[in-house]
Symmetry: C2
Subunit: 533 residues, 2 copies
């Protein structure tokens, strides 16, 4: 009994990678779900086999029917099981059975094969959905974002009470700049280090393990990329309606072939974790604390299961808001929301523009420009060689100096080629992070707008007998609370933005000045080799 | 009676310029020879009319038959008259008559129309043959080079006596570096200045006149481009077998649309004249002195006619050599000749390589690179504008600094775009001059090689009774003298080369260092606008 899956999106195979091209609407047969790294081996109707991204598929006739209910949102094979967790295809050697037993999941999850036919790439990409776009907002986000594909409507979450059994609160204070989060007295931070390639099952399955050391406990915990991915999913589910939860790093900015990939990924995971640590709400959440400070495998697994059962996710997060500030009316809320919407959109445009020219500049500085300086250098050196053959007495000063000038331009070529890694890299990475965050705002703004709309029509709802006057009042209070979270979040965003851009611009300009200074100095040294006329 | 001309080369009309496409072998009808600037209006067999370059045509059945005798060398309409002078198409309003009367020539020559339908381009190009290649060696050179298309064979010039009536001598001394020319005690120099657009015939004909002021008389003489061209032709005829006489400037190096053309041409004429002034043989020749120091129109015209009748041209120049140095045998001469041949060829390669990368670099520095810096600057400024709209208090320091950073990159864009004119320009011009000179050596070397061959077979010639033993001895002496001129010339070339490359490399590196220093300083100033973190 072979398992069938429907193709949700077109996928074009890359030659030589044992991939299979599939078209939206095709029905394919799943051959091997244990390939790992987001890939499944499948067979198409004409009998060809190859790897396809599991996120592009939807299992037909899955046991609990959950796949069906989410087809509008493009649910993937991995999301077909209950609880939105990431286990998806269980690691059974019987390819035609999917094991949905949650109790078995942890082990299976860790044991998925990540080596195999896709080699190094596969190790690198573990946990990252293949076919992700590189614009920072992965497909996974748009498929899984709670507010729009699952979870209560604006009406429901505006009226929902905070869970009785939860001690979680989302306090908003009024500070100098307006509504602000409650910042911890000692900021959380963590260091990611020591990436190690680990393998299981006699080397058949390999992956990278990172050490993460939080400044609070100073005790390292070990995580794989897919654990980060799990954390990301949890944070997105829980906070995504109120806070920008940027996607995890994928193959971005500088290209995977230009720097050591593992180092780059670690650097990017570090940036992502640092940003999460800096967020007062995220960093203090139990799921984030679990990730950083669990003491053993048992605590980690228990906490993980608990986090996956968290019900205060999506817009329900707003039920946790607590503030002493005066209630805002819908008009006021709408104005603020519009302002933030405009700001984040124009900043997104600005950041994209900078990234675009930055990438162009990167290519030029690492490609044609140094080649040209090298050619100039070589031309000087060649002339020097020719001149040396003249047999004319006493031109050693010139020929030596010409050689030095040639070497200088060859050195300049190297400087030019290496420079982007020293400055442009950080400018692009920072802007890339911001593009990731800014890409989250449309959804956040949208949750707010639908709440504003609901509150605006609450009079009509009362008249229609759908809600009581008390409900209406409660909805208005809830909307006000939502607005305070948005304002607190924007103020957090602004203060971070000012800090980050100040820092990265200084680093960029400092490095650029040093770079040009070095070239000027080199040229002067070369100049000094020539005889003064 | 319409004048017919045969088309020597294909010419493709440029759209919108009233030009006429013609094919080699076509017969066309000359309509108007008074267009000027190297152009003729013609009609093809299908009745279409338009401008064609006169150098591409050969008059059919010209009165004196001179055109016929030179058809192998591709003689042009302008060269169809006796004496190789540049009068060509006489300026008569009767289009069907060519006036070959030398007595009329001077006036006609100066009166050729250069304005008309081709506007500014026409003024610029006066005297330059249209369709010239831009590689520094114009078609005119290869067509007219004496040794190969006219003039005596190696045998003849090796035996020729110096003209009895000439007081010209070509003395070669032995200096520290070997054979050297006789250098004048005070080096000649001249300044070209004050280009003026002049017109005749009520503005119908216009041209540029330059003032040339030699340092010997300090008295300005006035010349048009075509006078320079005449001088070039005379020098080439007279010295071309012994010395490199580089072509006059044409549209080279930086492109005519990038800088003011007249200024550029004047600069290039200045370089050419400076180089000629620096040459001890050229600068002391009567034709060169005439050009620089004639006191009035009459002296100029008389001198001009005399120069055109000079018989010591082509390899006959070697009959003037005078040296006290010991006679060199053919083997020795051949070795030196081979060495110079190799050197000039490899220097030609080196210079071409530098010019090639220089042109590529020029394009990048004036095109995409500054555009990119401008985009970076704009991106910073845009971000600053967006940030200003945040409404978040206290970020003026950042937004102001970001604006300054943006402006800085816009200024860098300008610096980058302007820089080539300040340094690369001179590097390219110098190398261009050298390419022009180096392009003359193959012909010079070739004259020497054919003389060497003749001397080598002189024993056989004596046996065959073609020459006497006295002739053989004389030929060997003459060859030795030729070798001394080549050595003197190469030593002159080397000492100039060392001077020129020393100078231009220093200028280039100095300007480059200043350029990068300026950028570094600007970036540091921008950096200082940011708050220290």
């Amino acid at each position: 009994m072979a398992l069938q899956a429907q193709v949700l999106y077109d996928f074009t195979a890359e030659p030589g990678n044992h991939e299979l091209s599939i078209r939206q609407g095709d029905t394919i047969t799943v051959i091997d779900q244990t390939v790992g790294g987001g890939w499944i081996e499948a067979q198409d109707s004409s009998g060809r086999t190859g790897l396809v991204p599991e996120g592009y598929l939807q299992v037909i006739g899955a046991a609990d029917g959950a796949g069906e209910s989410r087809s509008g949102g493009g649910a993937s094979v991995t999301n077909a099981a209950e609880g939105w967790s990431h286990q998806g295809v269980a690691n059974t050697q019987q390819a035609d059975v999917i094991d949905y037993d949650d109790g078995e999941w942890d082990d299976d999850w860790d044991d998925q094969s990540e080596a195999g036919s896709r080699g190094y790439d596969q190790v690198e990409e573990e946990g990252g959905a293949a076919g992700q776009s590189t614009n920072g907002s992965t497909m996974k986000i748009s498929l899984n974002r709670f507010p729009f594909h699952k979870g209560p409507s604006a009406e429901v979450y505006l009226l929902a009470k905070a869970p009785a059994d939860s001690r979680e609160r989302l306090p908003v204070f009024i500070g100098e700049v307006g509504p602000v989060w409650l910042y911890p007295s000692a900021p959380l931070d963590c260091l990611i280090a020591d990436p190690k390639k680990e393998s299981k099952l006699y080397g058949l399955k390999s992956f990278i393990e990172y050490q993460i050391i939080p400044n609070t406990t100073n005790r390292p915990v070990t995580h794989r990329y897919k654990h980060f991915d799990w954390l990301y999913e949890r944070l997105l589910d829980k906070f995504g309606s109120a806070l920008p939860i940027p996607a995890l790093p994928d193959k971005q900015v500088t290209g995977r072939f230009e720097v050591d990939f593992i180092k780059m990924r670690m650097e990017q995971l570090q940036s992502w974790m640092t940003r999460m640590c800096r967020h007062p709400v995220v960093s203090q959440s139990s799921v984030f604390q679990l990730f950083l400070t669990h003491r053993d495998e048992k605590e980690w697994k228990t906490g993980k299961r608990k986090a996956e059962k968290d019900e205060t996710v999506g817009p329900m997060i707003f039920s946790l808001v607590e503030t002493e500030a005066a209630e805002l009316d819908a008009i006021n809320v709408e104005q603020k929301c519009e302002h933030y919407s405009r700001f984040t959109r124009s900043m997104d445009d600005g950041v994209r523009e900078l990234l675009s020219v930055g990438h162009t500049h990167w290519k030029r500085c690492t490609g044609p420009l140094p080649k040209e300086y090298e050619r100039i250098g070589r031309a000087f050196k060649n002339l020097s060689t020719v001149f040396t053959s003249s047999g004319y007495p006493g031109e050693e000063t010139l020929t030596d100096a010409l050689t030095v000038a040639g070497q200088t331009y060859e050195e300049i070529a190297e400087l030019v080629a290496q420079q982007p890694q020293k400055d442009l890299h950080f400018l692009l990475e920072t802007n890339n992070e911001y593009r990731g965050m800014l890409g989250c705002f449309p959804d956040i703004i949208s949750v707010h707008k639908s709440a504003i709309e609901k509150v605006k029509e609450s009079d009509r709802l009362v008249l229609a007998g759908k809600i009581t006057n008390g409900d209406k009042k409660f909805m208005s209070q809830r909307l006000s609370g939502m607005s305070y979270t948005l304002q607190a979040e924007m103020n957090h965003f602004h203060s971070n933005r000012i800090y980050d851009y100040n820092r990265v611009m200084q680093l960029y300009l400092q490095q650029q000045a040093t770079f040009y200074q070095q070239i000027a100095d080199k040229l002067r040294a070369a100049l000094n080799q020539f005889t003064t006329l």
